[in-house]
Protein backbone atom coordinates (compact mmCIF):
# COMPACT_ATOMS: atom_id res chain seq x y z
CA UNK A 1 0.00 0.00 0.00
CA UNK A 2 2.99 2.29 0.43
CA UNK A 3 3.10 2.70 -3.34
CA UNK A 4 -0.17 4.65 -3.19
CA UNK A 5 1.33 7.35 -0.97
CA UNK A 6 1.88 10.68 -2.74
CA UNK A 7 4.03 13.32 -1.09
CA UNK A 8 2.27 16.73 -1.03
CA UNK A 9 4.93 18.61 0.92
CA UNK A 10 7.59 17.94 3.56
CA UNK A 11 4.95 16.93 6.17
CA UNK A 12 1.90 15.90 4.17
CA UNK A 13 1.19 12.71 2.27
CA UNK A 14 -1.96 11.63 0.51
CA UNK A 15 -3.05 7.99 0.26
CA UNK A 16 -4.72 7.60 -3.12
CA UNK A 17 -8.27 6.29 -3.37
CA UNK A 18 -6.89 3.58 -5.60
CA UNK A 19 -5.23 2.04 -2.51
CA UNK A 20 -8.38 0.11 -1.67
CA UNK A 21 -11.67 -0.57 -3.41
CA UNK A 22 -14.52 1.24 -1.75
CA UNK A 23 -12.60 4.27 -0.48
CA UNK A 24 -14.93 7.28 -0.51
CA UNK A 25 -12.17 9.79 0.27
CA UNK A 26 -8.36 9.68 0.16
CA UNK A 27 -6.22 9.07 3.20
CA UNK A 28 -4.01 11.85 4.56
CA UNK A 29 -0.90 11.43 6.69
CA UNK A 30 1.03 14.02 8.62
CA UNK A 31 4.54 12.58 8.45
CA UNK A 32 8.05 13.27 7.30
CA UNK A 33 10.50 10.82 5.75
CA UNK A 34 11.53 9.51 9.20
CA UNK A 35 7.93 8.72 10.14
CA UNK A 36 7.28 7.09 6.77
CA UNK A 37 10.37 4.92 7.23
CA UNK A 38 9.17 3.95 10.74
CA UNK A 39 5.87 2.82 9.24
CA UNK A 40 7.33 -0.65 9.11
CA UNK A 41 4.18 -2.59 8.57
CA UNK A 42 1.40 -1.95 6.13
CA UNK A 43 -1.38 -2.60 8.61
CA UNK A 44 -1.70 1.01 9.74
CA UNK A 45 -2.07 2.22 6.14
CA UNK A 46 -4.64 -0.49 5.47
CA UNK A 47 -6.62 0.78 8.45
CA UNK A 48 -6.45 4.37 7.15
CA UNK A 49 -7.84 3.07 3.84
CA UNK A 50 -10.53 1.01 5.58
CA UNK A 51 -11.81 4.04 7.49
CA UNK A 52 -12.01 5.95 4.21
CA UNK A 53 -14.67 3.43 3.12
CA UNK A 54 -17.14 4.34 5.87
CA UNK A 55 -20.40 6.11 4.91
CA UNK A 56 -20.61 9.87 5.27
CA UNK A 57 -16.88 10.41 5.78
CA UNK A 58 -15.76 13.95 5.04
CA UNK A 59 -12.63 15.21 3.38
CA UNK A 60 -9.98 12.58 4.34
CA UNK A 61 -9.25 9.62 6.57
CA UNK A 62 -6.52 11.30 8.60
CA UNK A 63 -3.47 9.83 10.29
CA UNK A 64 -1.26 11.72 12.69
CA UNK A 65 2.53 11.16 12.81
CA UNK A 66 2.27 8.82 15.82
CA UNK A 67 0.19 6.44 13.71
CA UNK A 68 0.43 2.71 14.31
CA UNK A 69 -1.60 -0.46 13.89
CA UNK A 70 -4.71 -0.53 16.08
CA UNK A 71 -8.18 -2.11 15.91
CA UNK A 72 -10.51 -0.87 13.21
CA UNK A 73 -9.06 2.62 13.22
CA UNK A 74 -5.31 2.96 13.37
CA UNK A 75 -4.01 4.54 16.58
CA UNK A 76 -3.49 8.17 15.56
CA UNK A 77 -6.56 8.10 13.31
CA UNK A 78 -9.04 10.95 12.81
CA UNK A 79 -12.23 10.84 10.76
CA UNK A 80 -15.30 13.08 10.62
CA UNK A 81 -18.76 12.04 9.49
CA UNK A 82 -21.73 14.02 8.35
CA UNK A 83 -24.42 14.43 10.99
CA UNK A 84 -27.21 13.42 8.60
CA UNK A 85 -25.81 10.54 6.57
CA UNK A 86 -22.69 9.64 8.49
CA UNK A 87 -21.91 6.94 11.00
CA UNK A 88 -20.59 6.53 14.50
CA UNK A 89 -18.23 3.66 15.28
CA UNK A 90 -16.96 2.50 18.68
CA UNK A 91 -13.83 1.34 16.85
CA UNK A 92 -13.10 5.00 16.12
CA UNK A 93 -12.98 5.75 19.84
CA UNK A 94 -11.41 2.62 21.28
CA UNK A 95 -11.93 0.46 24.35
CA UNK A 96 -10.36 2.95 26.72
CA UNK A 97 -12.97 5.66 26.17
CA UNK A 98 -11.63 9.10 27.06
CA UNK A 99 -8.18 7.84 27.85
CA UNK A 100 -6.41 11.13 28.34
CA UNK A 101 -3.74 13.22 29.95
CA UNK A 102 -3.80 15.76 32.72
CA UNK A 103 -1.00 18.18 33.58
CA UNK A 104 -0.53 19.83 36.95
CA UNK A 105 1.96 22.64 37.53
CA UNK A 106 3.58 23.23 40.89
CA UNK A 107 4.58 26.43 42.57
CA UNK A 108 7.97 24.77 43.07
CA UNK A 109 11.25 24.48 41.22
CA UNK A 110 13.19 21.30 40.60
CA UNK A 111 15.96 22.63 42.85
CA UNK A 112 13.52 23.10 45.71
CA UNK A 113 12.04 19.64 45.14
CA UNK A 114 15.32 17.78 44.73
CA UNK A 115 15.75 16.54 48.30
CA UNK A 116 12.12 15.38 48.61
CA UNK A 117 11.65 13.74 45.24
CA UNK A 118 11.89 10.20 46.56
CA UNK A 119 9.33 10.93 49.27
CA UNK A 120 6.99 12.47 46.72
CA UNK A 121 7.33 9.53 44.35
CA UNK A 122 6.85 6.86 46.97
CA UNK A 123 4.00 8.85 48.53
CA UNK A 124 2.13 8.98 45.23
CA UNK A 125 2.89 5.30 44.57
CA UNK A 126 1.42 4.40 47.95
CA UNK A 127 -1.66 6.61 47.82
CA UNK A 128 -2.80 6.19 44.23
CA UNK A 129 -4.01 2.64 43.58
CA UNK A 130 -2.13 1.48 40.53
CA UNK A 131 -1.32 -1.72 38.79
CA UNK A 132 -3.21 -4.68 37.55
CA UNK A 133 -6.57 -5.18 39.14
CA UNK A 134 -6.20 -1.99 41.17
CA UNK A 135 -9.30 -1.23 43.22
CA UNK A 136 -10.30 1.26 45.85
CA UNK A 137 -11.68 0.37 49.25
CA UNK A 138 -14.59 2.80 48.88
CA UNK A 139 -16.91 1.06 46.46
CA UNK A 140 -19.51 3.31 44.84
CA UNK A 141 -23.15 2.32 45.17
CA UNK A 142 -25.20 2.35 41.97
CA UNK A 143 -26.75 5.76 42.60
CA UNK A 144 -23.42 7.37 43.28
CA UNK A 145 -21.85 5.70 40.26
CA UNK A 146 -24.69 7.00 38.09
CA UNK A 147 -23.98 10.48 39.45
CA UNK A 148 -20.32 10.12 38.40
CA UNK A 149 -21.38 8.97 34.94
CA UNK A 150 -23.79 11.89 34.59
CA UNK A 151 -21.63 14.66 36.06
CA UNK A 152 -17.94 13.79 35.69
CA UNK A 153 -15.81 16.38 37.48
CA UNK A 154 -18.92 18.25 38.62
CA UNK A 155 -19.57 15.23 40.86
CA UNK A 156 -16.04 15.59 42.18
CA UNK A 157 -16.58 19.32 42.82
CA UNK A 158 -19.71 18.62 44.86
CA UNK A 159 -17.74 16.20 47.03
CA UNK A 160 -14.76 18.43 47.59
CA UNK A 161 -12.37 16.57 45.29
CA UNK A 162 -12.15 19.39 42.77
CA UNK A 163 -12.20 23.19 42.57
CA UNK A 164 -14.01 25.38 40.07
CA UNK A 165 -10.61 26.22 38.59
CA UNK A 166 -10.08 22.50 37.96
CA UNK A 167 -13.30 22.30 35.96
CA UNK A 168 -12.43 25.42 33.99
CA UNK A 169 -9.10 23.80 33.05
CA UNK A 170 -10.70 20.56 31.87
CA UNK A 171 -11.94 19.92 28.34
CA UNK A 172 -15.71 20.45 28.14
CA UNK A 173 -15.68 21.92 31.63
CA UNK A 174 -15.14 18.46 33.09
CA UNK A 175 -18.60 17.17 32.18
CA UNK A 176 -20.14 15.90 28.96
CA UNK A 177 -23.74 16.95 29.35
CA UNK A 178 -25.28 14.47 26.92
CA UNK A 179 -24.16 11.52 29.04
CA UNK A 180 -26.90 8.97 29.77
CA UNK A 181 -26.01 6.51 32.54
CA UNK A 182 -29.12 4.51 31.61
CA UNK A 183 -27.28 3.48 28.44
CA UNK A 184 -24.43 1.94 30.41
CA UNK A 185 -24.92 -1.76 31.06
CA UNK A 186 -24.95 -3.38 34.46
CA UNK A 187 -21.82 -5.28 33.46
CA UNK A 188 -19.97 -2.04 32.78
CA UNK A 189 -21.09 -0.57 36.08
CA UNK A 190 -20.04 -3.75 37.87
CA UNK A 191 -16.56 -3.40 36.39
CA UNK A 192 -16.29 0.28 37.24
CA UNK A 193 -17.80 0.45 40.71
CA UNK A 194 -14.53 0.03 42.62
CA UNK A 195 -12.12 1.46 40.06
CA UNK A 196 -12.75 5.19 40.41
CA UNK A 197 -9.49 6.84 41.46
CA UNK A 198 -7.24 4.07 40.15
CA UNK A 199 -4.45 4.36 37.61
CA UNK A 200 -4.58 0.95 35.95
CA UNK A 201 -1.54 -0.47 34.19
CA UNK A 202 0.01 -0.90 30.75
CA UNK A 203 1.07 2.47 29.37
CA UNK A 204 -0.76 4.43 32.08
CA UNK A 205 1.43 6.40 34.43
CA UNK A 206 1.98 9.34 36.75
CA UNK A 207 5.13 11.25 36.02
CA UNK A 208 6.92 13.96 37.98
CA UNK A 209 8.63 16.29 35.53
CA UNK A 210 10.49 19.56 35.20
CA UNK A 211 9.89 22.16 32.48
CA UNK A 212 13.18 22.03 30.61
CA UNK A 213 12.44 24.33 27.72
CA UNK A 214 9.90 27.01 26.84
CA UNK A 215 9.35 27.80 23.15
CA UNK A 216 6.67 30.47 23.41
CA UNK A 217 7.31 32.59 26.49
CA UNK A 218 4.14 34.64 26.15
CA UNK A 219 1.76 31.69 25.83
CA UNK A 220 3.64 29.74 28.48
CA UNK A 221 3.19 32.66 30.88
CA UNK A 222 -0.53 32.78 30.15
CA UNK A 223 -0.71 29.05 30.94
CA UNK A 224 1.28 29.56 34.13
CA UNK A 225 4.30 27.61 32.95
CA UNK A 226 7.86 28.56 33.90
CA UNK A 227 11.15 26.96 32.99
CA UNK A 228 12.51 24.95 35.90
CA UNK A 229 9.11 24.39 37.51
CA UNK A 230 7.89 21.00 38.64
CA UNK A 231 4.92 19.44 36.83
CA UNK A 232 2.96 16.24 37.36
CA UNK A 233 1.44 14.41 34.40
CA UNK A 234 -1.30 11.79 34.78
CA UNK A 235 -2.22 9.40 31.94
CA UNK A 236 -5.20 7.07 32.36
CA UNK A 237 -8.77 6.52 31.22
CA UNK A 238 -12.14 4.97 31.94
CA UNK A 239 -10.84 1.63 33.19
CA UNK A 240 -12.99 -1.47 32.97
CA UNK A 241 -16.21 0.52 32.70
CA UNK A 242 -15.12 2.12 29.43
CA UNK A 243 -13.79 -1.17 28.07
CA UNK A 244 -17.15 -2.82 28.72
CA UNK A 245 -19.13 0.08 27.17
CA UNK A 246 -17.12 -0.32 23.99
CA UNK A 247 -17.59 -4.08 23.89
CA UNK A 248 -21.33 -3.82 24.65
CA UNK A 249 -21.88 -1.37 21.83
CA UNK A 250 -19.77 -3.21 19.28
CA UNK A 251 -21.98 -6.25 19.90
CA UNK A 252 -25.20 -4.23 19.82
CA UNK A 253 -24.24 -2.54 16.56
CA UNK A 254 -23.06 -5.82 15.00
CA UNK A 255 -26.58 -7.19 15.34
CA UNK A 256 -28.22 -4.29 13.48
CA UNK A 257 -25.61 -2.88 11.10
CA UNK A 258 -26.88 -4.87 8.12
CA UNK A 259 -30.38 -3.39 8.39
CA UNK A 260 -28.87 0.04 7.75
CA UNK A 261 -27.19 -1.25 4.62
CA UNK A 262 -23.71 -0.73 6.04
CA UNK A 263 -20.84 -3.05 5.21
CA UNK A 264 -17.40 -2.60 6.71
CA UNK A 265 -14.02 -4.02 5.66
CA UNK A 266 -13.09 -4.84 9.28
CA UNK A 267 -15.48 -6.03 12.01
CA UNK A 268 -13.95 -3.63 14.49
CA UNK A 269 -15.27 -0.79 12.29
CA UNK A 270 -18.86 -1.82 13.03
CA UNK A 271 -20.97 1.32 12.61
CA UNK A 272 -24.50 2.63 12.68
CA UNK A 273 -26.01 5.93 11.52
CA UNK A 274 -25.37 8.73 13.98
CA UNK A 275 -29.08 9.43 14.22
CA UNK A 276 -30.12 5.80 14.75
CA UNK A 277 -31.36 4.57 18.15
CA UNK A 278 -28.18 2.50 18.50
CA UNK A 279 -26.05 5.51 17.58
CA UNK A 280 -27.75 7.74 20.13
CA UNK A 281 -27.47 5.00 22.73
CA UNK A 282 -23.75 4.72 22.13
CA UNK A 283 -23.32 8.49 22.46
CA UNK A 284 -25.07 8.39 25.83
CA UNK A 285 -22.92 5.52 27.05
CA UNK A 286 -19.67 6.88 25.59
CA UNK A 287 -20.16 10.26 27.23
CA UNK A 288 -20.95 8.52 30.52
CA UNK A 289 -17.70 6.57 30.28
CA UNK A 290 -15.89 9.81 29.42
CA UNK A 291 -17.31 11.45 32.55
CA UNK A 292 -16.02 8.47 34.53
CA UNK A 293 -12.55 8.91 33.03
CA UNK A 294 -12.49 12.63 33.78
CA UNK A 295 -13.66 12.03 37.35
CA UNK A 296 -11.04 9.27 37.62
CA UNK A 297 -8.23 11.66 36.74
CA UNK A 298 -9.71 14.25 39.12
CA UNK A 299 -9.74 11.81 42.07
CA UNK A 300 -6.16 10.81 41.30
CA UNK A 301 -5.33 14.53 41.24
CA UNK A 302 -6.82 14.91 44.72
CA UNK A 303 -4.69 12.03 46.01
CA UNK A 304 -1.56 13.51 44.40
CA UNK A 305 -2.34 16.92 45.90
CA UNK A 306 -2.77 15.36 49.36
CA UNK A 307 0.70 13.83 49.11
CA UNK A 308 2.12 17.07 47.73
CA UNK A 309 0.65 19.12 50.57
CA UNK A 310 2.25 16.85 53.19
CA UNK A 311 5.71 17.19 51.62
CA UNK A 312 5.52 20.77 50.34
CA UNK A 313 2.97 22.47 52.59
CA UNK A 314 1.41 25.62 51.19
CA UNK A 315 2.72 25.03 47.64
CA UNK A 316 -0.05 24.91 45.06
CA UNK A 317 -0.41 22.14 42.49
CA UNK A 318 -2.56 23.79 39.83
CA UNK A 319 -4.31 22.07 36.94
CA UNK A 320 -2.95 23.33 33.61
CA UNK A 321 -5.30 21.24 31.46
CA UNK A 322 -6.99 17.85 31.08
CA UNK A 323 -7.63 16.42 27.64
CA UNK A 324 -8.82 13.15 26.12
CA UNK A 325 -7.32 11.34 23.15
CA UNK A 326 -9.94 8.60 22.55
CA UNK A 327 -13.29 10.25 21.86
CA UNK A 328 -15.97 11.13 19.34
CA UNK A 329 -17.62 14.55 19.54
CA UNK A 330 -20.35 16.33 17.60
CA UNK A 331 -18.59 19.48 16.42
CA UNK A 332 -19.17 22.37 14.05
CA UNK A 333 -16.61 22.90 11.31
CA UNK A 334 -16.37 25.03 8.18
CA UNK A 335 -16.53 23.17 4.87
CA UNK A 336 -14.71 23.98 1.63
CA UNK A 337 -17.51 26.36 0.59
CA UNK A 338 -17.29 28.28 3.85
CA UNK A 339 -20.55 26.86 5.23
CA UNK A 340 -20.87 25.52 8.75
CA UNK A 341 -21.48 21.81 9.03
CA UNK A 342 -22.09 19.59 12.02
CA UNK A 343 -19.88 16.52 12.09
CA UNK A 344 -19.13 13.56 14.33
CA UNK A 345 -15.34 13.72 14.70
CA UNK A 346 -13.73 10.46 15.82
CA UNK A 347 -10.25 10.75 17.33
CA UNK A 348 -8.61 7.48 18.27
CA UNK A 349 -5.19 8.08 19.74
CA UNK A 350 -5.48 11.67 18.55
CA UNK A 351 -6.20 14.91 20.36
CA UNK A 352 -8.56 17.77 19.74
CA UNK A 353 -6.64 21.02 19.20
CA UNK A 354 -8.98 23.99 19.04
CA UNK A 355 -7.48 27.25 17.77
CA UNK A 356 -7.21 30.59 19.56
CA UNK A 357 -10.50 32.46 19.41
CA UNK A 358 -12.65 29.31 19.27
CA UNK A 359 -16.08 29.98 20.73
CA UNK A 360 -16.00 27.11 23.18
CA UNK A 361 -12.78 28.24 24.88
CA UNK A 362 -12.37 30.57 27.83
CA UNK A 363 -9.35 32.58 28.86
CA UNK A 364 -6.47 31.98 28.89
CA UNK A 365 -7.13 29.28 26.25
CA UNK A 366 -9.12 31.71 24.12
CA UNK A 367 -5.85 33.59 23.59
CA UNK A 368 -3.39 30.69 23.55
CA UNK A 369 -5.49 28.07 21.79
CA UNK A 370 -6.53 24.87 23.52
CA UNK A 371 -3.60 23.11 25.25
CA UNK A 372 -2.52 19.77 23.85
CA UNK A 373 -0.64 17.43 26.17
CA UNK A 374 1.69 14.92 24.51
CA UNK A 375 3.21 12.32 26.84
CA UNK A 376 6.43 10.77 25.66
CA UNK A 377 7.42 7.17 26.22
CA UNK A 378 8.94 6.14 29.53
CA UNK A 379 12.00 8.19 30.31
CA UNK A 380 11.62 10.55 27.37
CA UNK A 381 10.29 14.09 27.07
CA UNK A 382 6.65 15.19 27.06
CA UNK A 383 5.28 18.31 25.44
CA UNK A 384 2.70 21.00 25.82
CA UNK A 385 1.37 22.35 22.54
CA UNK A 386 -1.62 24.48 21.58
CA UNK A 387 -4.14 24.25 18.77
CA UNK A 388 -3.92 26.36 15.63
CA UNK A 389 -6.17 27.81 12.97
CA UNK A 390 -4.45 25.63 10.39
CA UNK A 391 -5.47 22.46 12.24
CA UNK A 392 -9.05 23.73 12.34
CA UNK A 393 -8.98 24.42 8.60
CA UNK A 394 -7.23 21.20 7.55
CA UNK A 395 -7.90 18.31 9.88
CA UNK A 396 -10.93 19.12 12.03
CA UNK A 397 -8.78 20.73 14.72
CA UNK A 398 -6.83 17.59 15.49
CA UNK A 399 -3.29 16.60 16.30
CA UNK A 400 -1.21 13.69 17.62
CA UNK A 401 -1.45 12.15 21.09
CA UNK A 402 1.93 10.60 21.89
CA UNK A 403 5.02 9.02 20.40
CA UNK A 404 3.37 6.03 18.73
CA UNK A 405 4.63 2.47 19.00
CA UNK A 406 6.99 0.84 16.53
CA UNK A 407 7.69 -2.46 18.31
CA UNK A 408 5.23 -5.07 19.45
CA UNK A 409 5.19 -5.87 23.17
CA UNK A 410 6.60 -9.27 22.32
CA UNK A 411 9.56 -7.68 20.50
CA UNK A 412 10.00 -5.03 23.20
CA UNK A 413 10.39 -7.70 25.89
CA UNK A 414 13.35 -9.10 23.99
CA UNK A 415 15.24 -5.78 24.20
CA UNK A 416 15.69 -5.94 27.97
CA UNK A 417 14.02 -7.08 31.16
CA UNK A 418 12.09 -4.78 33.44
CA UNK A 419 14.72 -4.60 36.15
CA UNK A 420 17.51 -3.75 33.72
CA UNK A 421 15.35 -1.05 32.18
CA UNK A 422 14.59 0.37 35.58
CA UNK A 423 18.31 0.47 36.39
CA UNK A 424 19.04 2.21 33.12
CA UNK A 425 16.49 4.92 33.91
CA UNK A 426 17.78 5.30 37.46
CA UNK A 427 21.28 5.77 36.02
CA UNK A 428 19.80 8.63 33.96
CA UNK A 429 18.47 10.16 37.16
CA UNK A 430 14.86 9.02 36.65
CA UNK A 431 13.27 7.13 39.56
CA UNK A 432 10.84 4.37 38.63
CA UNK A 433 8.22 2.77 40.83
CA UNK A 434 6.03 0.14 39.25
CA UNK A 435 3.46 -2.35 40.36
CA UNK A 436 5.21 -5.00 38.34
CA UNK A 437 8.62 -4.98 36.65
CA UNK A 438 7.88 -8.12 34.72
CA UNK A 439 6.25 -6.30 31.84
CA UNK A 440 7.97 -2.93 32.31
CA UNK A 441 10.21 -3.70 29.34
CA UNK A 442 7.13 -3.68 27.10
CA UNK A 443 7.11 0.10 27.65
CA UNK A 444 10.78 0.60 26.81
CA UNK A 445 11.43 3.83 24.88
CA UNK A 446 12.85 1.65 22.11
CA UNK A 447 9.28 0.48 21.42
CA UNK A 448 8.20 3.98 20.47
CA UNK A 449 8.98 6.57 17.84
CA UNK A 450 11.10 9.54 18.87
CA UNK A 451 8.54 11.88 20.48
CA UNK A 452 10.71 14.93 19.74
CA UNK A 453 10.41 14.05 16.09
CA UNK A 454 6.66 13.38 16.17
CA UNK A 455 6.01 16.72 17.88
CA UNK A 456 8.32 18.46 15.46
CA UNK A 457 6.22 17.19 12.56
CA UNK A 458 2.92 18.58 13.90
CA UNK A 459 4.62 21.85 14.84
CA UNK A 460 6.31 22.34 11.47
CA UNK A 461 3.18 21.20 9.65
CA UNK A 462 1.43 24.05 11.46
CA UNK A 463 -1.32 21.97 13.11
CA UNK A 464 0.01 22.51 16.62
CA UNK A 465 2.31 25.01 18.24
CA UNK A 466 5.09 23.97 20.66
CA UNK A 467 4.89 25.74 24.01
CA UNK A 468 7.10 23.77 26.40
CA UNK A 469 9.15 20.61 26.76
CA UNK A 470 9.05 18.60 29.96
CA UNK A 471 11.53 15.95 31.08
CA UNK A 472 10.88 13.22 33.64
CA UNK A 473 12.33 13.05 37.12
CA UNK A 474 10.26 10.11 38.34
CA UNK A 475 7.74 7.68 36.90
CA UNK A 476 5.01 5.75 38.68
CA UNK A 477 3.55 2.90 36.64
CA UNK A 478 0.93 0.31 37.26
Amino acid sequence: MREFLVKKDAFRWELSMEAEKGMRVPGFLYADNYIIEKLEEENALVQVANVACLPGIKKYSFAMPDIHWGYGFAIGGVAAFDEEDGIISPGGVGYDISCGVRLLSADLTSEEARGSLHSLTSGIFTHVPCGLGSRVAERLNRKELDNVLQEGSVWALKRGYASRDDLAATENGGCLEDADPGRVSEKAKERGKDQLGTLGSGNHFIEIQVIENVYDIEKAALLGLKRGSITVMIHCGSRGLGHQVCDDNIRAMSKVMAKYGIEVPDRQLVSVPIQSPEGRSYFGAMYSAANFAIANRQIITKRVRDVFEKIFPGRELRLVYDISHNMAHMEEHIDAKGDREKLCVHRKGATRALPPGHGSLYEPYLTTGQPVLIPGSMGTASYILTGTGRAAAECFASTCHGAGRVLSRHAARKTSDGHALRQKLEDQGISVMAGSYKTLSEETPLAYKDVDHVVDVVDRAGISCKIARLVPLAVIKG
Binding site: E41, N43, A44, H68, W69, G70, Y71, G72, I75, G91, G94, Y95, D96, L132, G133, K187, E190, R191, G200, S201, G202, G240, H243, Q244, C246, D247, I250, R251, S254, K255, D266, R267, Q268, V270, R405, V406, L407, S408, R409, H410, A411, S436, K438, T439, G478
Partner: protein, 141 residues
Protein backbone atom coordinates in the same frame (compact mmCIF):
# COMPACT_ATOMS: atom_id res chain seq x y z
CA UNK B 1 0.88 -24.10 32.15
CA UNK B 2 4.15 -22.61 30.96
CA UNK B 3 6.03 -21.74 27.80
CA UNK B 4 6.51 -25.41 26.97
CA UNK B 5 2.79 -25.71 26.47
CA UNK B 6 2.92 -23.09 23.75
CA UNK B 7 5.46 -25.26 22.00
CA UNK B 8 2.99 -28.14 21.86
CA UNK B 9 1.54 -25.96 19.07
CA UNK B 10 -2.01 -25.63 20.30
CA UNK B 11 -1.55 -21.86 20.21
CA UNK B 12 1.02 -19.15 19.64
CA UNK B 13 1.32 -15.42 20.16
CA UNK B 14 1.12 -13.21 17.07
CA UNK B 15 2.99 -9.94 16.80
CA UNK B 16 0.93 -6.76 17.04
CA UNK B 17 2.43 -3.32 17.42
CA UNK B 18 0.42 -2.20 20.40
CA UNK B 19 -1.07 -5.34 21.83
CA UNK B 20 -1.18 -9.13 21.56
CA UNK B 21 -2.54 -11.58 19.06
CA UNK B 22 -3.32 -15.24 19.52
CA UNK B 23 -3.52 -17.99 16.96
CA UNK B 24 -5.08 -21.19 18.27
CA UNK B 25 -5.58 -24.38 16.29
CA UNK B 26 -7.14 -27.52 17.62
CA UNK B 27 -8.67 -30.89 16.79
CA UNK B 28 -12.29 -29.97 17.50
CA UNK B 29 -14.36 -26.94 18.42
CA UNK B 30 -14.81 -27.83 22.08
CA UNK B 31 -11.07 -28.15 22.57
CA UNK B 32 -10.46 -24.97 20.54
CA UNK B 33 -12.51 -22.92 22.98
CA UNK B 34 -10.79 -24.60 25.93
CA UNK B 35 -7.37 -23.81 24.53
CA UNK B 36 -8.38 -20.25 23.66
CA UNK B 37 -9.10 -19.76 27.36
CA UNK B 38 -5.69 -21.19 28.27
CA UNK B 39 -4.00 -18.90 25.77
CA UNK B 40 -5.81 -15.87 27.18
CA UNK B 41 -4.80 -16.85 30.72
CA UNK B 42 -1.21 -17.19 29.57
CA UNK B 43 -1.23 -13.59 28.39
CA UNK B 44 -2.94 -12.42 31.59
CA UNK B 45 -1.10 -14.52 34.17
CA UNK B 46 1.65 -16.37 32.28
CA UNK B 47 -0.25 -19.51 33.00
CA UNK B 48 -2.86 -20.80 35.38
CA UNK B 49 -2.70 -24.12 37.09
CA UNK B 50 -5.70 -26.01 35.84
CA UNK B 51 -7.21 -27.64 38.87
CA UNK B 52 -10.68 -28.18 40.21
CA UNK B 53 -11.87 -25.37 42.39
CA UNK B 54 -14.32 -25.53 45.21
CA UNK B 55 -16.99 -23.46 43.55
CA UNK B 56 -18.66 -25.06 40.57
CA UNK B 57 -20.06 -22.78 37.90
CA UNK B 58 -21.89 -23.26 34.62
CA UNK B 59 -21.63 -20.66 31.90
CA UNK B 60 -23.96 -20.19 28.95
CA UNK B 61 -22.69 -17.99 26.14
CA UNK B 62 -24.40 -16.93 22.91
CA UNK B 63 -23.03 -15.30 19.80
CA UNK B 64 -24.23 -14.21 16.39
CA UNK B 65 -21.61 -16.17 14.47
CA UNK B 66 -18.60 -18.42 15.27
CA UNK B 67 -16.10 -15.57 15.68
CA UNK B 68 -18.46 -13.54 17.82
CA UNK B 69 -19.06 -16.56 20.06
CA UNK B 70 -15.31 -16.88 20.64
CA UNK B 71 -14.92 -13.18 21.46
CA UNK B 72 -17.90 -13.18 23.83
CA UNK B 73 -16.55 -16.33 25.56
CA UNK B 74 -13.11 -14.86 26.14
CA UNK B 75 -14.47 -11.46 27.22
CA UNK B 76 -16.67 -13.23 29.76
CA UNK B 77 -13.54 -14.76 31.31
CA UNK B 78 -11.99 -11.28 31.57
CA UNK B 79 -15.18 -9.94 33.11
CA UNK B 80 -15.22 -12.69 35.76
CA UNK B 81 -11.61 -11.96 36.69
CA UNK B 82 -12.14 -8.20 36.91
CA UNK B 83 -15.34 -8.32 38.93
CA UNK B 84 -14.74 -11.36 41.15
CA UNK B 85 -10.96 -11.55 41.37
CA UNK B 86 -11.23 -15.20 40.41
CA UNK B 87 -10.40 -17.29 37.37
CA UNK B 88 -12.93 -19.55 35.72
CA UNK B 89 -11.48 -22.95 34.84
CA UNK B 90 -13.55 -24.67 32.14
CA UNK B 91 -13.61 -28.43 32.67
CA UNK B 92 -16.05 -29.42 29.95
CA UNK B 93 -17.12 -27.26 27.03
CA UNK B 94 -19.87 -27.99 24.51
CA UNK B 95 -20.02 -25.74 21.47
CA UNK B 96 -23.04 -25.67 19.16
CA UNK B 97 -21.81 -24.19 15.90
CA UNK B 98 -25.24 -24.20 14.31
CA UNK B 99 -26.86 -21.99 16.88
CA UNK B 100 -23.62 -20.29 18.04
CA UNK B 101 -24.03 -21.30 21.65
CA UNK B 102 -21.57 -22.52 24.23
CA UNK B 103 -22.14 -24.37 27.47
CA UNK B 104 -19.31 -24.75 29.96
CA UNK B 105 -19.06 -26.63 33.23
CA UNK B 106 -16.15 -25.54 35.34
CA UNK B 107 -15.04 -24.12 38.60
CA UNK B 108 -13.66 -20.95 40.12
CA UNK B 109 -10.18 -20.65 41.58
CA UNK B 110 -8.52 -17.66 43.21
CA UNK B 111 -6.80 -15.58 40.55
CA UNK B 112 -3.00 -15.65 40.51
CA UNK B 113 -1.16 -12.34 40.44
CA UNK B 114 -1.75 -10.92 36.95
CA UNK B 115 1.21 -9.85 34.83
CA UNK B 116 -0.67 -8.01 32.12
CA UNK B 117 -4.00 -6.23 31.84
CA UNK B 118 -6.23 -7.30 28.97
CA UNK B 119 -8.84 -4.62 28.38
CA UNK B 120 -10.84 -6.72 25.96
CA UNK B 121 -10.70 -9.33 23.25
CA UNK B 122 -11.35 -7.41 20.05
CA UNK B 123 -13.04 -8.03 16.72
CA UNK B 124 -10.19 -6.46 14.76
CA UNK B 125 -8.59 -9.01 12.45
CA UNK B 126 -10.82 -11.73 13.89
CA UNK B 127 -10.71 -14.96 11.94
CA UNK B 128 -12.20 -18.33 12.73
CA UNK B 129 -12.18 -21.45 10.61
CA UNK B 130 -14.18 -24.59 11.27
CA UNK B 131 -12.02 -27.00 9.33
CA UNK B 132 -9.50 -27.16 10.82
CA UNK B 133 -10.86 -25.56 13.99
CA UNK B 134 -8.71 -22.46 14.36
CA UNK B 135 -9.03 -18.98 15.79
CA UNK B 136 -7.02 -15.81 15.28
CA UNK B 137 -7.87 -13.01 17.66
CA UNK B 138 -6.27 -9.81 19.00
CA UNK B 139 -6.34 -8.56 22.56
CA UNK B 140 -6.35 -4.91 23.58
CA UNK B 141 -3.74 -4.55 26.34
Amino acid sequence: MNKRREMVLSWREIEHTADAGLYIVSTDMNTLFQEAAEALYYIMFEGVQYMSGRQHRSLRIEGIDPGDLAVVWLNELIYIFETEGAVYIPEAIYVDMERFKLKSEGSMIPAPVPVRQVKAVTYGGLCMTLDPPALKVYLDL
